[in-house]
Structures are given as C-alpha cells and as structure tokens.
C-alpha cells in the first residue's frame, strides 16, 4: 500500500494522461479536444520532472569552496523544457487551425463540420 502511495507522482501522470486522452477522443468541440491534448502533453511533463530529483539532492549549482553535495539530475528538466516549447507550438498551431475552420465552416463542432462537408 505504501509503495503505491509512494509512487503518487506516477499515478497522477497516468490519470492526467487518461483524462487528456478521454477529452481528445470523446469531445466533439475542437477547442475542448485541444484542451484535452494539452492535458495529455502536460502529463508527460510531470513524468519527466518526477524522474529528476535525487533523495537529499540539491540544485546542481557548482561554486568554489562549497562542500561536496548530492545533486539532483538537471537533464530531465532541460529535456522537458524543450517538450513544453513543442507543446505550446502545437497548441498555438491547433488554435490557428480552429480559427480558420471557424471562418470557413462557421462552426467548431466536429459533427457539424462533418455534416457540412457531406452536403
């Protein structure tokens, strides 16, 4: 039981991932889909951030004369910084496409767009 609770970061990661995935697949509204996609990506940020810290570790900043310390791993945070940028670009591009869909179709509901295309 304690093992399971000790891994609560991973649980939150999995739950967020599934919430995002649900919104992407189940919602008809394109903006809600995009929100779901954003949650889906943010879950992964949490996974990466969870990997980094070392027990008893501090921020990995070196300076002269400091006592030897245990440092946390900074690399996952750096990696996820890149992934956050990717996430923002995807969100921005997705919203731009939705704006153009709204201009062209007058709707942001997937079923209505499909209906218009069928005509």
């Amino acid at each position: 039981m304690m093992d399971l609770l000790g891994l609560y970061n991973y649980w939150v990661f999995a739950i967020l991932l599934m919430i995002g995935f649900y919104a992407v697949t189940a919602k008809q509204n394109l903006i809600k889909k995009l929100i779901g996609l954003s949650i889906f990506q943010s879950a992964v940020f949490l996974l990466y951030i969870t990997i980094g810290p070392v027990e008893g570790g501090t921020a990995p900043i070196f300076h002269e004369g400091a006592a030897r310390q245990v440092y946390s791993n900074p690399l996952p945070s750096v990696l996820i910084l890149t992934a956050i940028v990717v996430g923002i670009s995807t969100l921005a591009l997705g919203l731009a496409i939705i704006v153009r869909i709204k201009e062209a179709y007058g709707s942001v509901e997937e079923n209505e767009i499909r209906e218009i295309d069928r005509q």
């Binding site: 991932l17 995935f21 992407v24 394109l30 889909k33 995009l34 996609l37 889906f40 990506q41 992964v44 996974l47 990466y48 990997i51 996952p76 990696l79 890149t82 992934a83 990717v86 670009s89 995807t90 591009l93 997705g94 496409i97 939705i98 153009r100 869909i101 062209a104 179709y105 997937e110 767009i113 499909r114 295309d117």
Partner: protein
Amino acid sequence: MNAEAYHLAVLQVVVPLLSAPFVILLRPRGLAWAAATAASAMAFIVAAFLTAGVLSGVEYRYAVGGWAAPYGIELRVDALTCLILLVVTGASLLALLAGRRSLDADIEEDRQPLFYGAWLLALAGLAGIVVSADAFNIFVFMEVSSLASYILIGGGPDRRALPATFKYLVMGTIGATFYLVGVGLIYMMTGTLNLDDIAQRIPEVADQRPILAAAGFIIVGLALKAAVFPLHAWLPNAYTFAPHAVTVFLAACATKVQVYVLLRFDFLVFQNNVPGHELQFSHFLMPLALLAILLASGVAMMERNLKRLLAYSSIAQIGYIMLGVSLLSAAGLSAGIVHIFNHALAKGALFLSVACLGMHCQGLKLSDLAGAAKSMPWTMAAFVLAGLSLIGIPGTAGFISKWLLISAALAEGSLGIALVAVVLIGSLMAVVYIWRVVEAAYFHSPPAGGPQGLREAPPMLLAATWVAVLANVYFGLIPGLPIELSEAAASSLLLHLP
C-alpha cells in the same frame, strides 16, 4: 575521411533549417520558390555525397557541438540512413521543381514565402529524424517536421483540408507524445538517450516493467505516425485535400521516415535485449500488415476520388513494408526496406501525374477524368507506367521489391505460402484500382456538353513526372543501388540478433 566530409551529416539538417528563415524574407515573385528549390537541391547533393561515402565503406558519426556521445547529441549515417535520405531529399526536390505552377494556383502570392519556409522546415525535420542517433533529438525533429507539414497540408485553398489537418495534428501529437513517454521511461531505467548507449545498458533492466511499457508506447506511437493499419485514420483526408505538390512530397517520404525510426529503435534497442520481444513484435505487426494490404486495397477499389484512392493504396503499401519487416529475416527486412524506396518512387510518380491532372481538373473524381487520355496523353501515359510499378509488373521498381518480398516469405515454410497468397491478392487488387482510373481516362468518352477544359500540364511539371516515371523503370531494370543499401542496412540491423 577528411574534415569537410565529416560535416556532411550535420549539413543535411543545417542547410534546409537555415534556409527556411532566409526564404521567408524573399518577397519578389518566384524568388522564394527558387531559393527553396536551391536549398532542396543542396540537401539532395549532400545526401548523394553521404551515400557515395557510405558505399565506399565510411560510417559517419558526428558529435554536435563537439560534445562526444553519449553525453552530446550524435548524428549517424549508415546504409539505411542514406537510402531514406535519398528518398526524402529527392522527393522534396522533385516536388518543388514540379510544383511551382501547381502551388502558384493553390497559394496566394503574399503567403508563398511563408509556405516555402514551412516546406524547408519540414525537410529539415525529416532529414533530422533520419540522421539523429539520439532518442530525444528524434522527438524534437519529429515535431519540427510534423508542425511544418500541418502548415503545408492546411495551406491550400480547399477548406476540407482544415479539419483533415486538425485530425492529423491531434493524432500526430498523440503519436509523438506516446513516443516521448516511452523515451522517458527508458531514460528513467538506463539514464541515457543515445541509442547505442541505450542498447548497451538496457540488458541489465530489460525484464522490468517500465521497459516493457516503454516498448509498447514507442511502437504504438511510431505506428500511429507511420499510419500502420488500423492507426491510419488521419492519412486519407490529409493526403486528399493537401495541395498536390505537398501530397507528392509527404506521400513519398513522411510515413516512411517514421517506419525508419520504428526499425532503428526496435532493432537496435529492444530486439535481443528484451526477452521475447522479437516474437511480440512480429506477432503484433504481421496480422496488421496483412489486414492493411487486404482492407486498404479493398477500400481503394471502391473509392471515387483519385487522390483518396492513392492514399488508401499508400496504407496498403505500408502493409507490404511492415510484412517484410515482421518476417525478422535478413531477406524480409531488406525486402521491406527496398519497398520503402520503390514505393516512394511509384507513389511519387503517381501523385506527380495527379498534380498534372489537377492543373485543369478541380474535383479529381474518377468521373471527372472521362476522356482525359485524349487531352492529356503524356500525363496519362506517365500515370499508367507508374501504376504498373505500383502493381509490380516486371521491368519496374515495384516488381523488384515484391519479388524480394515473395522470396523472403517463401523461405518461411507453410506460413510463407499464405503470406505470398496475400501479397498476390493485394497486387491483383492494385490492378483493379489502377485499372479503374485507366478505364475512366482512356475508355470513357468525355461528356457531350462541350469541351472540358482539360489540356496538357505545364512542361516543367510534366518533365518532373517523367523523371520520376523513368526512375521507376531505371530502378526496375538496374536495381543495384537500393538493393545494395538495403542489404547492408538489413545486416546491420540484424547484427544485434542471435
């Protein structure tokens, strides 16, 4: 290797990447196109030099920024890389050379510099995926190329491209995020991102659950991006409603690059290191490959829109590639890899002739093509030859890979005979759907109500189409280069297997 040759690997990415912002600034008419084409030509020349180097036995390893692997990002070029690089840069160059008039018709003049900038970013991303030997770097380039290709697909005048792009964006992002989760889990267990380094360290932890989960996430994520059946839902509409030149570029190489990542990752990292993974991989992909061949070809037989017909045929062809790969033998693997090259040639040529038809025919329904062969004889002749290559008639490139695939399948014993049957049925179905186009264009008389306005495409477009068609014939008669590269690639991929 001299100092200049050492930098070729990184030039493959840097040339299009740095040309992209430059191209955006070019305002006078036609200049952006010329600059983008020149950058693509440079990229193709770099790929040709790399191939010549690899054929003479050099293996390129480049440490980005001078930081040696495994800490720095490593670029690596071997036989498999070269084959895919030739496909990517060749497709980009040919599509740009061919597509000027077609894109002039589709994209407003003031948006053209931005469009060509996005094109070069897509090229840089695809080339970057191929040369990277670093799991996270592959993700970054994957997103660079995906974001740019969403722009390319949604850039045309057809509003139906927009929902198609949105669907591609959502599914592409899910695929890339799955890959990212998998890479994160692997990093958690091994502490490294360099593919070779992962392969060395993974045996110690290979039986633990995060690695199994990582394998699942990475394979499903990449299969989604590669449009492996049944994860292909984004592909037909995206290819159908994109500007014609974009379809030529993306249909020839975008999904193939993802198949390449799948091969490289799976064979280097998982196979032989994770117990039982070979069987899981083969048992997972082989039924999907067979279903892709049969069902996607079946849909293509029913389809009324020419571009969508070819898009479904692309899904079936991914099936042939995965079938060869899932045999897990050197022969099957090299058949699959040759088919990546040959299918890019055939589908590139087919979509180029579609671009010719699209110059004067808006809808591209099969019924619109009635009598097209009379007014556009050269285009339709090109379509027929490229179609023969897709079907796999002897003397064309398609025959070579189907032949290799069938001989690889026959080596598998009784299962092989069933596989050969599926390949043959798939080819017969290809005969049917190509024939439907031929029948409409050659044997249906144009509607009686006056002229249709169909006439031969601009010379540049037609010339590029025939270059692609003649490449199909050339590599059908003299298949030395792709076979040599893919056999070297297959043996280096299988090096890690017992």
